[in-house]
């Protein structure tokens, strides 16, 4: 329905046909008029010539019309009357029938009618005073009425032929121009077709291609530009998706390879029961690790989906920190860590999300502090800072800590950390409308969360 080609074709075809019709009609009308008036002129000349053959004297009107009566010529007839309506002369072809006389008889007048034999005709009525010899002048010169009729069959035929020729030329012209239009429109729209072909050739596996802006006509440039923008966005999204899939595959392959190697080696021969037990414990640990990776990835994916919102509220800081620290107690004792907290009464943010951030930051700090090191948790009404000693990261590495699946050497080898904790924290803080940053200061790893407002 909205095909530009069809629309152009229909519109231009209608316009072309109308142009042909109007110009054809004009040519016809002008030609017909010229032919008719030429016919009338000839008729008048004939009538005048015939009138010259009529003369009068004292005896009355006499004519020599009978001499010129071309009785054999069926195309013409004439009849002459005197004032009293007495027929003075008549073509033999009329066979005693009368020609019609125009009602208004003054000078000359034309009329269209039929010959007595039924053929269409054009006739002229001429009222005149027949000439007389001045020496033989009648007492009362009389007027006479001459009617000359001529069939229009021939001129009608010519006019009909002209009409047919014009109609034929018009029809052929319309057909030819339609054909040309199809070609011209196709040619004119070929850049659009080229763009369409180029777009059709783009598959999801090759989104890095861009449409050639230079090859498109000026009118299509905005469309090409927008399409290229769209392609760039799609390409980016697909690339991120592929990277994520590759990362996920890699992350899951590691525990899978551990499981498979452990199980295959264990099963390769008969063993004592305790050895199976050890292998199963190892496998369970690997499963739990894989589960943590999957859970963290899902949490991250849910956050990345649109529509996650945060509800700010006053969160009692000392209470929350105490709660979060409970499960870490044994590890703090085991690693002989010193824990120092400096807390304001409350912070304004989304309680559940802030809790997850706090858990992850404390988990990281406790995991990577050197044995007998120190962890500081400091929070004001709008900031949170978790610091730990014994950081082995270099400043160049710290830049990456918030990246998905990034792990420092120490975290990479233990298998317990998926490299998603800080990525999750960053996303959560962003959802809450805050900022998060990491830095190293004299071997201390410091993560600072700040909420504006």
């Amino acid at each position: 329905v909205t095909s530009i080609r069809r629309r152009l074709l229909v519109t231009t075809a209608v316009v072309t046909a109308l142009a042909f019709l109007v110009s054809g009609a004009l040519v016809f009308v002008l030609t017909e008029g010229a032919l008719r008036s030429q016919f009338d002129d000839a008729l008048r000349a004939r009538a005048q010539a015939l009138a010259a053959l009529v003369e009068q004297d004292q005896q009355g009107i006499e004519s020599e019309l009978a001499v010129v009566d071309r009785s054999g010529d069926p195309t013409e007839a004439h009849q002459l009357w005197n004032d009293e309506g007495e027929v003075l002369a008549r073509s033999e072809a009329l066979h005693d029938r009368d020609l019609a006389v125009a009602d208004e008889i003054s000078g000359l007048s034309y009329a269209t009618g039929f010959l007595p034999d039924g053929r269409p005709s054009r006739q002229i009525t001429l009222r005149f005073v027949p000439r007389y010899d001045p020496e033989d002048q009648p007492a009362h010169p009389q007027a006479a009425v001459l009617v000359v009729a001529r069939t229009t069959t021939e001129v009608d035929g010519i006019i009909q032929r002209i009409a047919r020729v014009l109609a034929g030329i018009g029809a052929a012209g319309i057909m030819v121009s339609m054909g040309l239009l199809v070609v011209v429109i196709r040619y004119a729209l070929s850049p659009a077709q080229a763009v369409a072909t180029a777009i059709a050739a783009i598959g999801t596996e090759a989104l890095d291609v861009r449409l050639d802006r230079g090859a498109a006509p000026t009118e299509l440039e905005p469309i090409v530009d927008r399409l290229n923008d769209l392609l760039a966005r799609l390409d980016g999204a697909f690339t991120r998706e592929r990277e994520l899939t590759a990362e996920v595959a890699h992350e899951l392959r590691t525990p899978l390879s551990g499981l498979r190697a452990t199980l295959e080696v264990t099963l390769s021969r008969e063993r004592e029961a305790p050895r199976y037990r050890t292998a199963l414990i190892d496998c369970l640990a690997i499963c739990l690790q894989a589960e943590r990776v999957v859970e963290a990835m899902l949490a991250l994916a849910r956050l990345e989906a649109d529509g996650v919102t945060a509800t700010a509220a006053h969160v009692e800081l000392p209470e929350l920190v105490r709660e979060v620290l409970v499960p870490f107690g044994p590890r703090i004792t085991e690693r002989q860590l010193t824990l120092e907290t400096t807390l304001d009464p409350s912070i304004c943010c989304d309680r559940d999300k802030f809790r997850v951030v706090l858990q992850n930051l404390i988990d990281n700090a406790i995991s990577y502090t050197d044995t007998a090191g120190t962890v500081w948790i400091a929070a004001t009404s709008s900031t949170l800072r978790v610091t730990n000693t014994g950081c082995l990261l270099t400043p160049a590495e710290v830049v990456h800590v918030f990246e998905r699946f990034w792990r420092g050497d120490r975290a990479r080898s233990d298998g317990a950390h998926a490299g998603l904790g800080l990525a999750l924290c960053k996303k959560l803080v962003q959802v809450m409308g805050g900022t998060i940053m990491a830095e190293i200061d004299d071997g201390r790893f410091i993560v600072t969360v700040a909420f504006t407002k």
Binding site: R253, S257, R260, A261, T262, E264, V265, R269, D409, S413
Partner: protein
């Protein structure tokens, strides 16, 4: 045969080490690239199983440095990355083989054995010296159509001698290729096992002694 496993993920490292040990290999294991490079440079391993993502020094850098130092040890890359680009990079850097995680342990074993054969220029898994047949795939030994049961240590020693049949093999060679760091071996352990082997293989004698130098399996005494 002595194998080095460089892998940071403990479950894989432990399982591969144990599986290889059970299949008669002497195995050393390293958990990071630096240790791995040190091990590889210090000992004449037959095969190095090398993970690519390693702490401290990544596997590909380790491989590049190892090759730069002139080592021609057979290297089998082990990694979770499996794009063609990763494989090509690894192989171009001088790796001999490539295995993607997770892998079948039987396949790893077969590939390690194949690398060992290639290293000693042996075409098949069956080594024949006169009437002695050593099947390295099934780890069985036959002499004159009679099966000879051997302990793991004895088999490993015979296989090494078989792979280098006709060549002079020194005690140091044996020591370096058949014992890992955790083996508690005394200096005359090689002589003791040569004695066991000779007794089990029977007459005529196949293992010849070159006094003060080492041993030759097969060939002229």
């Amino acid at each position: 045969m002595r194998v080095l496993v460089v892998e940071d993920y403990a479950p894989v490292r432990a399982a591969v080490r144990e599986g290889l040990l059970e299949n008669g290999f002497a195995v050393d294991a390293a958990a990071n690239g630096e240790d791995g490079l040190w091990f590889a440079a210090a000992n004449p391993y037959d095969v190095v199983i090398l993970d690519i993502m390693l702490p401290k020094l990544d596997g590909l850098t380790l491989l590049r440095r190892l090759r730069a130092s002139g080592s021609r040890v057979a290297v089998l890359l082990l990694t979770a990355k499996d794009t063609i680009e990763d494989r090509v990079t690894g192989l171009d850097l001088g790796a001999d083989d490539y295995l993607v995680k997770p892998f079948a342990f039987a396949e790893l074993l077969a590939r390690v054995r194949a690398l060992v054969r290639r290293r000693y220029d042996v075409a098949t898994s069956l080594i024949t010296i006169e009437d002695l047949e050593i099947d390295t795939a099934t780890r069985t030994v036959r002499r004159a159509e009679t099966s000879i049961p051997l302990s793991a240590r004895e088999y490993a020693l015979l296989e090494y001698l078989g792979l280098r049949a006709g060549e002079l093999v020194t005690r140091t060679d044996i020591w370096e290729h058949l014992y890992d760091f955790q083996s508690d071996s005394t200096s005359n352990v090689v002589d003791v096992y040569i004695g066991y082997l000779r007794k089990k293989l029977g007459a005529p004698q196949l293992i010849h002694t070159r006094r003060g130098q080492g041993y030759i399996l097969g060939g002229q005494p």
